[in-house]
Symmetry: C2
Subunit: 332 residues, 2 copies
């Protein structure tokens, strides 16, 4: 089933307004959710909206709260999200980091006390729309064991890297676990094995079976010990820059909230070699595609390259929806 | 065979001085090489020294060149390495990034036209010795295929994250390939299989056999498509911030040189919540060690935790050396 983009956005907006969010903010939040589904990131669009509204209902997210600047240090600011909606907080901090980068070449924001930012690629695209490179990361509730351990002590701490490249920007959007729990559940629902090992089974063997990992909750860090270390580092950096909670401290709360996030924006337009930088980015991305493919007829693509095509298709034919989730929204 | 640390450092210094490097710089470079071996990073200490001296002899490294600041923007500076010794250039830029962080809380340096920085953990340790968090990365010559491709189009672009924690700092020091070529060769020499899959064989199957990967030169990015994307992003960021070469452009040179590197330092002492930040870091690291171990009796450790013990052992008993490399140095 497919639903027109505007219908989807309109429904999200209706629900948010009904809950008391003022129109301008409801429209922005609705757009951020709808954009995720439009661009093919269904897990963080419609499919997440229902869960988001539950977190509003149970008080984890304060729908009315707005992020505000807590400390100013020129190119670097610390913001407090006051447990407001994660996507609106992240949008605001990205916007502000872009402003700072326009002034200082690089803008850095540490955001504390925020909530799940939904699809981080949205913020990456805001950066590239302004000819900026964006580097964004967040901590999460502990949901991944450190290498060598069984207990979830680390977050999977997603990171986004975005770089402008005409109408097909580079967009790297990756969590530090090999597969998110959302992905594991999707594979399980479809009765499929993972394409590569994604965690441990109860015998502590690496497995491609999503059900086994969903049972042990022992998901695998990317690059084994390497992703385990990177995830740890991102958590310490995000909590230091923001003055907010570490993943461990988030795990001490009854629900995942009060997250720490980092927004770094580099404004290419402010560099003396602006044109050369843009050319270097585009040359690198074009060059990747020239690699001899492993599978004949399946050319190498760079991260984000296919998004434009998915977006165009979804705008033309409507955005694919899981009917169960869609009905949920209509009933709200 | 083991050699006293001071003897090793002294020999490095003797060779460098003989080549014309002035005493003060020769001593620093010798110390950086010896420190790597002392801390157990043998691949980037003694074992790399011989190769480094060859790159001096063949003109890839200009032993006399010194990094200098090319553009000042407050907390952010662009430096030119003038193809000088990579370890001295990186040392200088780390030192400067620490100075900037003392003034601005965060210091950022983009370094271009530099050479292999040898063991990046050295710079991480400089940061933590100053109560700073360090984030350092470099691009390299293309040596890793992008996900889905066979040709080396990406660098393995090592990254270091360091955070202070008393006398056992966190030190994450990882390349974006699962195993460096140095590691693959070491496993091959010892006739061992890799602990996890590290690349592709000629049938395009993932393999743990280091010889097969050394043949195809198709090493595996950490987290498959994820590390492929992260490596790409790091290259674009390092080349943008420095105004230097991308990995692709480095690949157009006859040898690996004119690299781009990024040095980001966060000075915790300049934050109003300094004590709380240090406590959060230490709490997180301590908590990791409480995870139930996968292998009974093998407790989880955090990255960098074992370094102190190795260092103490090597200072007491002497630094283990590969006799072949050591004889090489003595003969120089």
């Amino acid at each position: 089933m497919r639903v027109p983009y505007d219908t989807m956005k309109g429904e999200f907006c209706r629900v948010l307004t009904k809950k008391g969010l003022r129109k301008e903010k409801a429209e922005l939040s609705a757009r951020l959710f709808a954009d995720a589904s439009r661009d093919g990131v269904y897990t963080h669009g419609l499919n997440r909206f229902v869960k988001f509204m539950k977190s509003v209902d149970n008080g984890t997210v304060d729908l009315q709260a707005e992020a505000s600047c807590a400390e100013y240090y020129g190119f670097f600011e610390r913001w407090d999200g006051h447990r407001g909606p994660g996507n609106l907080n992240a949008y605001r901090c990205t916007e502000r980091a872009i402003e700072l980068a326009k002034q200082y070449k690089i803008g850095v924001i540490g955001l504390r006390n925020t909530n799940h930012w939904m699809r981080p690629g949205n913020y990456g695209l805001m950066a590239v729309d302004n000819d900026c490179i964006g580097i964004f990361f967040t901590n999460t509730v502990p949901n991944m064991p450190p290498w060598g351990g069984k207990d979830a002590k680390l977050g999977n701490n997603p990171v986004v890297f975005a770089a402008p490249n005409g109408d097909t920007p580079m967009l790297v959007d990756v969590a530090m676990s090999m597969f998110s729990y959302g992905k594991l559940e999707a594979y399980k629902r479809e009765g499929k094995l993972l394409p590569v090992e994604g965690g441990f089974n109860s015998k502590q063997e690496l497995t491609k079976d999503p059900s086994e990992i969903l049972e042990t909750h022992e998901s695998l860090p990317i690059g084994y010990w390497k992703g385990s270390g990177i995830s740890l580092a991102l958590d310490l950096i995000a909590s230091t820059l923001s003055g907010g909670r570490t993943s461990k401290m988030v795990g001490e709360l009854p629900a995942e909230t009060e997250l720490s996030q980092t927004f770094i924006v580099i404004d290419i337009n402010q560099f003396p070699d602006r044109d050369e930088i843009l050319r270097k980015i585009s040359d690198t991305l074009e060059d990747l595609k020239l690699a001899e493919p492993v599978k004949e007829g399946v050319p190498v693509h760079f991260p984000g390259e296919h998004m434009k095509q998915i977006r165009e298709e979804n705008m033309k034919l409507g955005v694919p929806v899981d009917e169960h989730y869609w009905q949920n929204v209509l009933d709200m």
